[in-house]
């Protein structure tokens, strides 16, 4: 037994999750400690600090490649943390796809991190990291794939700057996943209350220039479109082009669920123009990326 083991028990640290323990939520891993939340896209890095009380600080952003921004800002970021711990959300070099008939055996979500071939079979590719979200009502699943080299590059970059990465995630995938959980909860409530079914739902998730659109018929996921670094804050035309074909033919019983970060100005207006008869349910404020990173 090491001395550190004893001090960990006496300081109650042994009863808290390890800072690197991805199976625990962020605020349980860092109680009473300052941490930093970072969100990357291809051309921009934004960040917010989390105080000891768990309060989010002001959002800041710098335009530039990730590597340069990290090297320039690492000293400032270290001052915002206790021990240099940060969570990194990447919105670049990822692929989100809709898959069917993937294995759903127990522990598959954890197994995919260490042995993706055991879960994905022939769909697994070398040099990729995966995350998986199943639809409980059908055989479809949403699969996130990120280049392993890119993740390792980020880990090395942060380590060399004195920062410790407690989590690397794909922000847009996390927002999509959380929105789906909320929709599932809402559908359960509708079913329990005997109300009419929710109908067709188009879930639009936007984060740092990336977009992911999931179209579902009742509880089945039927179409998913995902693009990296598609739009900029001042130029949302590419976003319109990708959303328009999906929402234009929606019936009046359908609804659009929107989960977008603050970078997309006027998206609500754009959706009203594209689908004037469709109800838009905007859950961006409640389930934004920063609150998800902080609370989950």
């Amino acid at each position: 037994m090491k001395l550190s083991d004893i001090t960990n028990v006496l300081s109650f640290a042994a009863f808290r999750p390890d800072p690197d323990d991805s199976s625990s939520i962020w605020r349980k891993r860092f109680p009473n400690r300052q941490t930093l939340l970072l969100n990357f896209s291809k051309e921009e890095v934004s960040w917010r600090s989390v105080s000891k009380d768990g309060v989010l600080g002001e959002e800041n952003s710098v335009v530039g490649p990730v590597k340069e921004v990290v090297q320039d800002m690492s000293d400032d970021w270290l001052d915002l943390t206790d021990g240099g711990w940060c969570a990194v959300s990447i919105n670049h070099r990822f692929v989100i796809s809709l898959e069917t008939n993937l294995t759903r055996k127990n522990g598959a979500s954890e197994l995919i991190r260490t042995n993706p071939k055991a879960v994905l079979g022939s769909k697994s590719e070398r040099g990729k990291r995966y995350a998986l979200k199943h639809n409980a009502e059908s055989n479809s699943s949403i699969l996130l794939a990120v280049d392993e080299d890119y993740i390792k590059e980020i880990e090395t970059l942060f380590k060399s700057s004195g920062l410790k990465v407690g989590r690397i995630c794909c922000g847009i995938y996390g927002m999509l996943s959380e929105s789906l959980d909320q929709i599932t909860e809402a559908q359960k409530d509708y079913n329990e209350n005997g109300s009419e079914p929710l109908g067709d739902i188009v879930l639009i998730t936007c984060c740092e220039g990336s977009v992911c659109i999931l179209k579902s018929d009742q509880e089945k996921w039927i179409e998913l479109r995902s693009r990296n670094s598609l739009y900029a804050q001042k130029d949302s035309e590419p976003l319109r082009k990708i959303i328009a074909p999906i929402v234009e033919d929606l019936g009046s019983n359908a609804q659009i669920v929107l989960s977008a970060d603050g970078a997309v100005e006027g998206i609500n207006q754009m959706l009203r123009e594209l689908a004037p008869n469709v109800r838009i349910n905007d859950m961006s404020d409640s389930y934004g990326l920063w609150s998800l990173l902080k609370n989950k």
Binding site: V9, F15, D20, S22, G174, S177, L292
Partner: protein
């Protein structure tokens, strides 16, 4: 918001340990309680020791004070005893140094018509003033006169001890004895009566 943790795609560390069971939190809690209790008890004992040391010093002062008072009292008792002894001596002396004159008068008056005193000595012992050495030489009267004189001496409250009597030629009697005052109250009255006569 669901309580399920966010997905994580970073390189998994192999040496991550799971948190210990919540029940075992009793171990550090008890340790902390023990530490606090130990500190509290130590502080308590520290202050009690300080208090007892102060009380000890105070009581030692009191003991010294009382010892001083005791020695002063003993000194005073000694002085009082000395005074008492001296008072007793004075009393004894006063008791013993009664006037010899009534005794001389009593002896003289006890002499018959034919008897005459040749020599009478009354000597008071310096150390025992209540003892009087009597030496009486008289002629004529013999034993009868001596008895009469001794009776008169007894009447004055004295008793004769260590008597020594010798009879010489011509009816001379030499009598020597030690007279000790008998504390009989009414004898003084007789003397007073004699004095009055």
């Amino acid at each position: 918001m669901s309580a399920k943790p966010f997905h994580d795609i970073k390189t998994e560390r192999q040496d991550i340990t799971r948190p210990l069971p919540r029940l075992l939190i009793l171990v550090p809690v008890m340790f902390c309680i023990s530490c606090v209790a130990a500190i509290a008890l130590n502080l308590l004992f520290f202050f009690k020791i300080k208090e007892s040391e102060a009380a000890k010093v105070e009581w030692q002062g009191k003991i010294e004070e009382e010892t001083l008072r005791k020695s002063e009292t003993e000194k005073q008792i000694g002085l009082i005893k000395d005074e008492d002894r001296r008072a007793k001596d004075v009393y004894d002396w006063a008791e013993g140094s009664r006037q010899i004159q009534p005794l001389a008068v009593g002896v003289a008056r006890s002499m018959g018509v034919k008897s005459s005193i040749e020599e009478l000595s009354l000597v008071r012992d310096m150390e025992n003033p209540h003892q009087i050495r009597i030496g009486l030489d008289f002629v004529n009267g013999g034993q009868k006169q001596l008895d009469s004189t001794l009776s008169a001496i007894n009447g004055l409250g004295y008793r004769a001890y260590s008597a020594n009597q010798t009879s010489g030629q011509g009816g001379q009697v030499d009598y020597q004895a030690t007279l000790i005052w008998q504390k009989v109250g009414n004898k003084n009255n007789n003397l007073s009566l004699n004095n009055n006569e």
